[in-house]
């Protein structure tokens, strides 16, 4: 009996140590970036163009570029994702086609991001003749976020009780009327939250925009959907591997990493706050 208790003690402590290691990884990542990145963050860093071969100045075009691609991918992914989720949760019967659709969604979310990049090059840059530009990059990211948006939207739809639908149907509404008036208004907050979480992930992605429109060094803001752009993750990649004086620009790389992390987590936090606010409004 004693040995069993001893074994349990050791076993539990090993499991605790696993959790401790995982927490330590996160702590080290955040601490290192924050400590070394905070020094270069000032108003100029956030609001100025990069200067003298990116060794000085700020990251404004990269911040703006990241925002623009995120918005473009949202415009593509949110309506399509919501539509697909509505189909799956409200209309679809349990048949072969539905199963194929579900399997495709799970598979799409496992397709490597670089493969989406290849797909974007062929479809948007070449076949649709957009060229390498912010539109191609945004749409490539949009396709990549689509499976995440669908999954999140479906979760939101599933949380609406059937009585909402049945009540409306019983009063003589058609299926679409019931969905439009009694399901969607309650599901949209959850759907939007999920969509924003997907966009936060998209904003941090680099591989899909490598060849579809991100530019090495462009000290001005994109003027049209067909111009190239700078993006924070790509900028960080350049600053830490491709720059001619890597050691010298290391602080800027740290600063860029910090801005990127804050942006991504800011979007996450925004999504959570939005959900909270919308829920409150709904209750009142």
């Amino acid at each position: 009996m004693k040995t069993n208790q001893l074994k349990e003690l050791i076993g539990f402590n090993i499991l605790r140590a696993c959790m401790g290691m995982v927490s330590l990884f996160l702590l080290v990542i955040l601490y290192d970036i924050a400590r070394k990145g905070i020094g270069v963050i000032n108003w100029e860093f956030l609001s100025a163009m990069p200067k003298t071969g990116m060794t000085e100045g700020g990251v404004l075009p990269a911040i703006v570029g990241t925002f623009i691609v995120a918005v473009i991918s949202a415009v593509l992914a949110i309506p399509l994702g919501m539509g697909c989720a509505v189909y799956l949760n409200e209309f679809a019967q349990n048949n072969k086609i539905t199963r194929i659709i579900r399997m495709s969604i799970r598979n799409l979310s496992g397709v490597p991001s670089i493969v989406y990049g290849l797909f974007g090059v062929v479809l948007f840059v070449q076949l649709m003749r957009f060229g390498t530009c912010v539109l191609s990059a945004g749409m490539t990211l949009g396709l990549m976020t689509l499976p995440w948006t669908i999954t999140a939207s479906e979760e939101a739809l599933k949380s609406i009780p059937d009585s909402y639908r049945d009540g409306s149907l019983a009063l003589g509404a058609t299926k679409w009327q019931a969905i439009r008036t009694n399901v969607l208004p309650y599901a949209v907050p959850g759907m939007l939250t999920g969509a924003i979480l997907g966009l936060a992930r998209a904003a941090g992605e680099t591989a899909p925009i490598l060849f579809t429109g991100a530019a090495f060094y462009l000290p001005f803001l994109p003027k049209s959907p067909f111009s190239q752009f700078m993006a924070l993750p790509y900028h960080l990649y350049i600053m830490s591997t491709q720059h001619h004086s890597i050691e010298k620009v290391r602080p800027i790389a740290y600063g860029t990493a910090l801005v990127l992390i804050v942006l991504v987590f800011g979007m996450n936090l925004g999504a959570i706050l939005l959900r909270y606010r919308l829920r409150k409004i709904k209750k009142e």
Binding site: G110, L146, Y254
Partner: protein, 292 residues
């Protein structure tokens, strides 16, 4: 009139639903159509079995995928070696050991870890993990397969943890109670009852983590040195399929043999991840229908 409108709406949503299948098929077809022209000049045997990848050679360009496949396999094995025990351990801790309050703090840790962009992880591979490895093994730089394995191991953790935890949580409570009632300790119950009962879910979790590792690009591109040669040990620089595409696609002119060859690499990558995903999907579903 209303009926017509209803049918139109239903049709629109149906097409929206079918769209994801079209996208998946589209990715498959575009990759294959852009890969086929490469084999006008490259023999399939060379592509699949030659260890040399040197498309820019002046004399005879060679397009062999073997060294990349080996690199990908090495880094994947290394990453899973780190992530599987750590991930399952953490999942078991979260599902069976942690108190409710600890769990409330610990779950966001895993979620935040999942949200860190891969380019940031790769950057830390250069500035943090690299120098550490260089010091431990007395190397000139630490950009090698070990570095990539560590980074990808960390990136695979959130997937493995959250899906394994779901699997452990969905083991029926009666299993656990029966085991405890027979006098087993909680530790024995976890090891002998819960983990075996949730095994197929845990295997699916590890396979999904593996799919993520195989397809990961930025971290591996930045932290492994990317020397285009056959790696001999974990201390060598490796160049995976993903990083080869990332490095070279930006430099080649469109519609050349080299360009098509990169799509062929992309196609191989797509097929591998597709099968990993399909198999984990089947395993996960088998286990879901078992527990019901």
């Amino acid at each position: 009139m209303i009926k017509l409108k209803e049918r139109i709406v239903r049709c629109l949503f149906f097409f929206n639903g079918i769209l994801v299948v079209i996208i998946l098929l589209g990715i498959f077809l575009l990759l294959i159509f852009n890969a086929i022209p490469a084999f006008k000049e490259i023999s399939l045997v060379q592509f699949l079995f030659s260890p040399n990848w040197n498309p820019t050679s002046y004399v005879t360009p060679s397009y062999g995928i073997v060294s990349m496949l080996v690199s990908t396999l090495m880094v994947t094995a290394g990453a899973l070696f780190i992530a599987i025990p750590l991930g399952i351990g953490t999942a078991a801790y979260l599902s069976d050991v942690a108190s409710h309050r600890v769990r409330e703090i610990a779950k966001p840790i895993v979620e935040i870890l999942a949200g860190i962009p891969s380019v940031v992880i790769g950057f830390l591979g250069i500035v943090l993990v690299g120098p550490m490895i260089a010091r431990v093994f007395h190397l000139y730089n630490g950009l090698n397969a070990i570095n990539g394995s560590v980074l990808l191991g960390i990136m695979a953790l959130p997937t493995i943890i959250s899906i394994s935890e779901d699997a452990l949580n969905s083991v029926p409570k009666s299993y656990q109670e029966a085991s405890l009632a027979l006098g087993a300790t909680r530790w024995q119950t976890i090891i002998r009852v819960k983990i075996p009962a949730a095994l197929s879910g845990i295997i699916a979790a590890c396979m999904l983590g593996m799919g993520r590792v195989i397809g990961e690009t930025m971290a591996i591109l930045m932290a492994t040195g990317c020397a285009p040669a056959m790696p001999k040990s974990f201390l060598d620089s490796v160049r995976t399929m993903t990083s080869t595409i990332a490095i070279e696609l930006g430099e080649v002119p469109y519609n050349t043999t080299h360009y098509y060859a990169l799509f062929a690499v992309g196609f191989v990558l797509f097929v591998i991840t597709f099968f990993v995903n399909i198999v984990s999907d089947i395993v996960l579903h088998k286990y879901e229908s078992q527990t019901r």
